[in-house]
């Protein structure tokens, strides 16, 4: 049992009186879940405190004493690999008067000293000293009381680090469940089954965070929201990019899959053949592409295809509720800022030559991979974000309450399959994944989770 300072989340009372059966229905949800600041405040506890939330990637803190700043909901945290190698999520908040103690995005440090009054902490969260301790009564600073708050449960899955404040949450492994399979496949196509996070394409929008998550496996919006991108990708070449959406995407081989716990997966790979080079062939046009391709084909013959695929975007959307999305080669993180402001950060990933098979070509592959990754944030995501902002604007109309997500509802027979484990599969254009996620959302928002922090650096084990 993990020793935690149990506390009432306080969220139970925040949204007392909200009728969740009314706000979230089978075919529709109330605009209020996107616009109400009280609901947003409750989400920061009941979702961004109570389920496993993605906070960082291990490649951002490869060595002991490395740290990276992050957030758990609105809580400022420092993800550290402490001096003994343990990964921690420390609250970036001085125990004394509340100032943040780390103001650098990332770096290496054995500890953190508050700039305000000089209280110092080790990178495992333990208070290591305060200036002029004689000014405190005997025993006033003893025990754990003034150690940094930290998250007792921090765990990672194949490099992805998650944290939860909920002692009653299932293990991370159980929480991820079926979505581990597409994550495994996404990683296993990379050399050594690994990627390294580099920097990010960083965007934001004036809209609720759930608008981004609702969109994450939505195959219905593509030909409309991304009309300019599809036209651009195919202005000089055919069958590039997301062209497989153009003809009746309802009947295309791609599918959407729902795994439970709000995790879903839009798999567009069935639209292409399974062979080396197939991904590269549909890749739209990027800087340096022809140079690299001709060079690789000349020097590597048939093997060029597998090297070129490493620079190509994988046509998948793997979505881990509530804030992690793997798409193409990006690790996209959705960060709520307020009920109507959201950061969406598209971390780029690079190939690592784990087994030394790539050698001198690594730089050319990664340079091209950077260029393929810049494409969608530049020419696709900006249009989605405008549409999210315009949803938020439209939802200002209070009397017109409902947001519909009923595409495919009532047409399940022959269209939707459910396997023995409850995994649901349907056309990539159905909104079944949104409806299922909203059921989870409703359950979480109706709960009163026992969340808490610890100040004992020895507590918890992930």
């Amino acid at each position: 049992m993990i020793k935690m300072d149990k506390m009432s989340a306080g969220a139970g009372s925040l949204d007392a009186g909200y009728d969740w059966d009314r706000l979230v229905q089978e075919d529709r949800v109330s605009r209020q879940i996107y616009t109400d600041p009280v609901i947003f405040a409750a989400e920061m506890t009941k979702i961004f405190g109570a389920v496993w939330v993605y906070i960082a990637h291990e490649s951002q803190i490869p060595n002991n004493d490395n740290f990276v700043r992050s957030r758990l909901g609105l809580r400022p945290i420092i993800v550290t690999r402490d001096s003994s190698g343990r990964v921690r999520a420390l609250y970036n908040r001085c125990t004394h008067r509340g100032a943040t103690i780390c103001r650098q995005d990332s770096g290496s440090a054995k500890g953190f000293t508050c700039p305000y009054h000089g209280w110092a902490y080790s990178n495992n969260g333990k208070l290591s000293g305060v200036p002029w301790p004689d000014g405190y009564a005997d025993d006033a600073l003893d025990g754990d009381k003034f150690n940094l708050a930290q998250v007792a449960r921090v765990d990672s899955y194949r490099g992805f680090i998650f944290a939860t404040l909920n002692a009653d949450a299932p293990s991370l492994d159980d929480y991820l469940g079926g979505v581990k399979q597409p994550i495994d496949e996404w990683l296993d196509r990379q050399p050594g089954g690994k990627v390294a996070v580099c920097n990010a394409n960083r965007l934001k929008f004036d809209g609720n965070w759930k608008l981004a998550y609702d969109n994450a496996a939505d195959g219905y919006h593509v030909v409309f929201s991304h009309r300019s991108l599809l036209a651009m990708e195919n202005r000089m070449a055919e069958d590039k990019g997301m062209t497989y959406y153009k003809e009746n995407p309802d009947g295309a081989p791609m599918y959407v899959r729902y795994f439970g716990n709000g995790h879903h997966f839009k798999d567009k790979r069935p639209n292409m053949e399974v062979r080396p080079g197939a991904m590269w062939e549909i890749e739209s046009l990027h800087p340096g592409m022809e140079h690299v391709e001709e060079d690789f084909r000349r020097r590597h013959g048939d093997r060029a295809n597998e090297l070129l695929d490493l620079a190509s975007s994988e046509p998948v959307n793997i979505n881990v509720f509530p804030n992690l999305m793997l798409l193409g080669n990006h690790i996209q993180v959705v960060q709520p800022l307020s009920v109507s402001e959201t950061d969406t950060t598209w971390w780029g990933t690079a190939v690592i030559d784990v087994d030394g098979d790539i050698g001198d070509d690594l730089e050319a592959i990664n340079a091209l991979r950077m260029r393929t990754q810049e494409g969608f944030p530049n020419f696709g995501e900006v249009d989605d974000l405008m549409n999210f902002e315009q949803i938020q604007a439209g939802l200002a109309a209070a009397e017109d309450e409902w947001v519909y997500m009923h595409r495919g509802l009532g047409l399940e027979e022959g269209r939707i399959t459910v396997d023995e484990g409850g995994v649901i599969t349907g056309p990539a254009t159905d909104e079944v994944f949104m409806r299922e996620t909203m059921k989870v959302y409703k359950r979480l928002m109706s709960d009163d989770p026992a969340i808490g922090i610890t100040r004992d650096p020895d507590a918890g084990d992930g």
Partner: protein
């Protein structure tokens, strides 16, 4: 073999990246600053023309200011970073610049519907000579671009690094952009709808 850089991207190779990083790292040496007032004014007029084309939505004419093999680069790192290992806000070769303009002209680029109104100020122009060639200069300037979009006024600001080639013609000097680097002061922060050409 000659390749049309509007159609295929052959020139963005290892040498291109190396030269780019070398040219845009530490090029602002005080010793290389040019004191010639006429040269500075010529560069400044050219930068102001570029800003005017963008403010007026004359995107095809804006493209015409660039050399056939060119780059429009908005780094996501304060020092420009290493584009071989980092994603940029934008890293457009000639073809991708034309893609960008094509997309904006489709009338279906929702991030630019309605089209942003912009007013660009370009100032603090400093011209530097280069070792590489007598007709190639590095020009540093500060910019302040105010955008009106979706009921809001927004600001992009920072400094431009232009690598310019001087073209002689009968009317005196004219210029061609080899590389335009846009250094936003908030390049490593989350940006709201960065869909205009900066």
């Amino acid at each position: 073999m000659n390749h049309d850089p509007s159609k295929t991207s052959h020139y963005v190779d290892a040498g291109f990246y190396e030269k780019l990083i070398a040219d845009f790292g530490g090029w602002q040496s005080d010793a290389a600053e040019q004191s010639d007032v006429g040269l500075r004014d010529s560069c400044r007029r050219f930068l102001e023309k570029e800003a005017r084309f963008l403010d007026q939505g004359r995107n095809a004419e804006w493209l015409g200011l660039f050399a056939p093999e060119c780059l429009y680069w908005v780094p996501a790192s304060l020092d420009g970073g290493d584009p071989r290992r980092e994603v940029a806000v934008s890293f457009d070769d000639r073809r991708r610049m034309e893609d960008r303009v094509f997309r904006l002209d489709t009338d279906h680029a929702w991030s630019q519907q309605p089209v942003s109104r912009t007013a660009r100020l370009v100032s603090n122009v400093t011209v530097y000579a280069t070792d590489a060639a007598d007709d190639v200069f590095m020009v540093r300037s500060n910019f302040l671009t105010t955008e009106f979009q979706a009921g809001d006024k927004r600001i992009y600001t920072g400094w431009y690094g232009h690598q310019l080639r001087r073209l002689g013609n009968s009317n005196g000097e004219s210029w061609q952009i080899l590389v335009k680097q846009v250094n936003l002061i908030d390049c490593d922060q989350n940006l709201r709808n960065p869909s205009i050409v900066l």
